[in-house]
Homo-oligomer: 367 residues x 2
Amino acid sequence: MADASTHGHGPARRATIIDVAQRAGVSSATVSRVLNGNYPVAGATRDRVHAAVDELGYVVNAHARALAGTSNRTVGIIVHDVVDPFFAHIARGVERAASEAGRLCMVCCTHGDPQRELAFVDLLHEQRADAVVLVGGAHQDRSYAREVARRARGLHAGGARLVLCGRPSVGQGVPTLSVEYDNEGGAFALTDHLLTQGHERILYLGGPPRLSTTHDRLAGHRRALALRGVPTAPELVHTGAFSPAFGHRRLAELLSSGLEFSAVFAANDMVAIGALQALEEAGLRVPDDVSLVGYDDVPAAATLRPRLTTVRVPLEEMGRQAVRIAVPDAEAEAWRPPAEGGVRLGTHIVVRDSVAGRAGRAGRSRR
Amino acid sequence: MADASTHGHGPARRATIIDVAQRAGVSSATVSRVLNGNYPVAGATRDRVHAAVDELGYVVNAHARALAGTSNRTVGIIVHDVVDPFFAHIARGVERAASEAGRLCMVCCTHGDPQRELAFVDLLHEQRADAVVLVGGAHQDRSYAREVARRARGLHAGGARLVLCGRPSVGQGVPTLSVEYDNEGGAFALTDHLLTQGHERILYLGGPPRLSTTHDRLAGHRRALALRGVPTAPELVHTGAFSPAFGHRRLAELLSSGLEFSAVFAANDMVAIGALQALEEAGLRVPDDVSLVGYDDVPAAATLRPRLTTVRVPLEEMGRQAVRIAVPDAEAEAWRPPAEGGVRLGTHIVVRDSVAGRAGRAGRSRR
DNA sequence: GTGAAAGCGCTAACAA
DNA sequence: TTGTTAGCGCTTTCAC
């Protein structure tokens, strides 16, 4: 029952390539060759080796293999939280592309802690991942950026790549690859949409204050406001977490404080979910009484009632691109890193049912 | 710019422990001891080593370390899809517990393909993961179970563990660990709840036919029916995917076919999301015209309108337990595998707003 | 407190 | 087509 070998006999030791070689009556080099299938070996020999492998329950040791030269074919991905759909979709893209490139994917969760993030980059470097993908907004802090840059250089020196996915570069000349999306542009378009509908008092809700994502979305929002000559009102900006809980709690507070606004720009769809709940509980109808928009276009956005107007971000594609630009394809011999060191994907607003015209209390109502 | 070393000088080669040793004027053994901090080393020596490490940008090679003896401290998890909340929450539990136990987490996605699943178990074994967690329902097939059993033995022989999380054992004497939840019981309770509300024609919708999860939920459903003497009607059972798309499409077809039923038991919350949409589109109100229940209690269940009555499954806790029973704690010396070889967690129904009494067309309506 | 040296299991020249 | 052998980078006795 607790026997170490399949047959319950022999020493409690894992079979090695040498064991297989002896059993098959060949050398370890031959075993290696049949296992890797990258070198001609006689059919009969190959069969004997395979038989020995099966009999011994031999499983190649990826560490020994990696040590001996060939990369161990893994990529690492660092996210805040695998459950958050924003990260989950990017992670799915990374996993799929990695898998297609014949690589295993190591996932780390920081829960938003920059120190953990750095520690994970180190850990992944130790594991000799071919690429490390850093996902989502970056903590805006110079010394932090310096630490990231240092690790990017270390990874690069070892032939690996640090990929910045959805966050800005950490500086000129730092050897990173990047996958960006038009964050500022999406926020601009969304705010412009709201303005076009007659909203001028727009509450901006959520997003960690010192996160690059928040910075960019807010920048787009303000640019749209400025372009229409709408004054920015400090009391209308309330940053915070990227969660339903924050959206719900803060909006409920604001509502009972008597703050006036006709639309809510939730920093992402999760915040919008909480905001919608707060609005409902206050007896306000969306979009008749208050309009609401989100960001990211995660599946939940289309499930909400009213269906949420939001900005589409090509999350899964970002994940795919991150590994595509960092590691050679499985079969493709002719592969070189992208000239530009990165790709930039577009975003676009998707209009659904959560926005109505300002003067339109009697406006669109569902059913 | 493309220099391999931090300073742009010297050979394009990664620093090794030998380089550090030379630079610090000590032996590699001493460097190893300093780095692992598991052996007394003079303060001054330690400082010199750390300085050399920094100057060289040295990063220990986890493969060499793993080869030389100490486990490489990783756990693997195999799921269908990281985006599906069912798997995402379990994955989060696994990642957290692994992280707390000082381990890295390798995530693999099978997209429901049993062959891929087996291949990933092999890959993870090759990586010498301390534990491999197989998540979610199992494909019900004898030869498949045999393959899993074979791998469980192989892993076990190498000192690693295969953990079955949310799926039945693959046979007596097969060295696996398991984390189960009361799947059948949850389905029983849910159906009983529906029956109590007067529903007798209950449509069972979704869940891959040859998956153990489907088997168990259907079993609980049927047991509840039988207990009340309600005949099972084959035309009321429609298995399929675990997705909103399936729930939507199939229910729409069924609705237009004229099939009669007063409640829908969606095999999971995702199916319920699609079902709700189909119901809405058909002009049917939930729960006034038709009652609807889901399973799993993922966050979306509470976001739907009406809020979905469903069965709470302790997903994240299942993930945590999976690694807890399989690997020693970070600091805990005194650790031994659970005597029983597994844990079993409870489920319970959470009643929200998607079920109304059969006779109650005029019954509860929101607001 | 520190060093020398023997592996860990595999791959990849280089020979035969 | 197959065998021999020298490492890959680290940990860990065993001496000193």
